[in-house]
């Protein structure tokens, strides 16, 4: 038992030494890890892109930290361990651009909102206006979370803010939590991104373009990144043909042209 513990300690120590040497070196042929902070709406697509990227770049590994873009921006400013930031909103990216700064910022994908309902649709929801039905239990992402802000903006533009106010039963920490509450049937409806539902068992009620809000996602290399070169390669992969094809498969739209 004691020997086993000792072996573990040695192994962990060796690993730590390993990663320390690669982060200082980072030459080709070495193993290097790029740390990507990404909006939780990118989880499924980026996990796939991470696998593809590792396959295409032997020796490179990708470590993801998924979460609300706003939270991630705070973490990046205070921690400084991120190489790449992929944000669900320009505002969160602006914060990181201010501190600690970013390089190579570009919009790489767009996302739209969609209404989701449980498989059996207990609230009988077929349009945005149905969300104001009396007694309907609606979950949104919290204010300050990009998908929650976009949803409120859309409801506001549709003149539904007042109608849905009493129907909102929970302000969830992120889009994944909204999907979970609806998928489990606890809530009658939720508003998330089209990209959130590729891998879940919910009904999607499409929102017409003239009522919908388009979220534009920026990606950038974080200034002071531990692995700036690999970070740039990763960003290049995401905006390249292969990355874009994967993102499309997961429900994202192309970046705005121009």
């Amino acid at each position: 038992m004691r020997r086993c513990l000792l072996a573990t300690v040695v192994a962990v120590g060796a690993l730590a030494a390993c990663s320390a040497s690669t982060s200082s070196g980072g030459a080709a042929g070495d193993t290097a890890e790029v740390t990507v902070f990404a909006a939780s709406s990118l989880t499924a697509a980026f996990n796939q892109i991470g696998d593809d990227f590792e396959a295409a770049n032997p020796g490179a590994t990708v470590a993801f930290n998924f979460g609300s873009s706003t939270d991630l921006a705070t973490q990046i400013s205070s921690e400084g361990t991120a190489d790449v930031f992929a944000s669900a909103s320009g505002t969160a990216m602006d914060a990181v651009e201010g501190d600690p700064g970013v390089e190579d910022r570009q919009d790489f994908v767009t996302n739209q909102l969609v209404i989701i309902t449980p498989a059996d649709d207990p609230g009988d929801v077929s349009s945005l206006a149905d969300l104001a039905k009396p007694g309907l239990q609606l979950v949104l992402a919290a204010e300050g979370v990009p998908v929650g802000d976009y949803a409120r903006q859309m409801l506001d533009e549709a003149g539904l803010t007042k109608g849905v106010a009493t129907n909102v039963v929970s302000n969830e920490p992120d889009d994944a939590a909204v999907v979970a509450k609806v998928e489990s049937g606890e809530a009658d409806a939720g508003i998330v991104y089209t990209s959130d539902i590729a891998s879940s068992d919910v009904n999607a009620v499409t929102i017409p373009d003239d009522q919908n809000v388009t979220a534009t996602y920026p990606i950038a290399v974080v200034t002071g990144a531990p692995q700036p070169e690999l970070a740039a390669v990763f960003v290049g992969y995401v905006v390249g043909t292969d990355g874009q094809a994967t993102l499309e498969r997961y429900g994202f739209g192309p970046p705005p042209s121009g």
């Binding site: 300050g144 039963v169 302000n171």
Partner: protein, 260 residues
Amino acid sequence: VRRHLPLPIVVLAAIGGVFVSLPAIALAARAPWGRMLEILTGPGARTALRLSLEVSLAATACALVLGVPVAWVLARGAFRGRAVLRAIVVSPIVLPPVVAGVGLLMALGRRGVAGGWLDRLLGIQLTFTTAGAIAAATFVSMPLVVLAAEAGFRGLDTRFEQAAAVLGAKPGYALRRVVLPMVAPQLAAGAVLAWARALGEFGATITFAGNLQGRTQTVPLAVFQLLQTDSDGAIALSLVLVAISIGVLIALRGRITGTA
């Protein structure tokens, strides 16, 4: 005789002490002291503080009403599987709160094992309601009552109960008039710990009961949401919880570790 402690131990203890106290100190250092009163008496913070008080007190009451009988059964009952029962009843202490929340959802959610039944027959829905927040807080805090009360019952000489029985007291009367008063200190300590745990509950609450101002958004959930928009507010409310936690433990000193 006063002995010097070995230096390595002192060094490790110092690191440990700093590690644990630094977050509280950092919060205090970053706190918007000038606006503290204004923030804490603002409508958002007041709503969260009032709801937290209600939810935590209700959860403590539930934990006592349900937890003390459980402790009594564990302490006095002689049956197979008692150790397993105790492990299950106490497990929320070590369970990740989010797991507790998912479990509660599966059990008491609108489509849950028992929750579906509650919803159909009685029209009671716990998710997204204050009752749900109380259920989540009770779930995580009851073990603290059980542990404290069971220790109290076990430490009690059974001859007191025998004497009461000899004098003609029925078991229920003896429990009420003899046993419970004698373990009151342990029950009080367990209740206060349970209350503090209920007050700090986050993961099970947001997973099971959701997050809505005035209904399920307790202070920890408000802190979490304010981090998105108003870090000063988040820090101010965090400090309230830090102060209460430390205050409770100072008030209970000795009751938990058994030292004076």
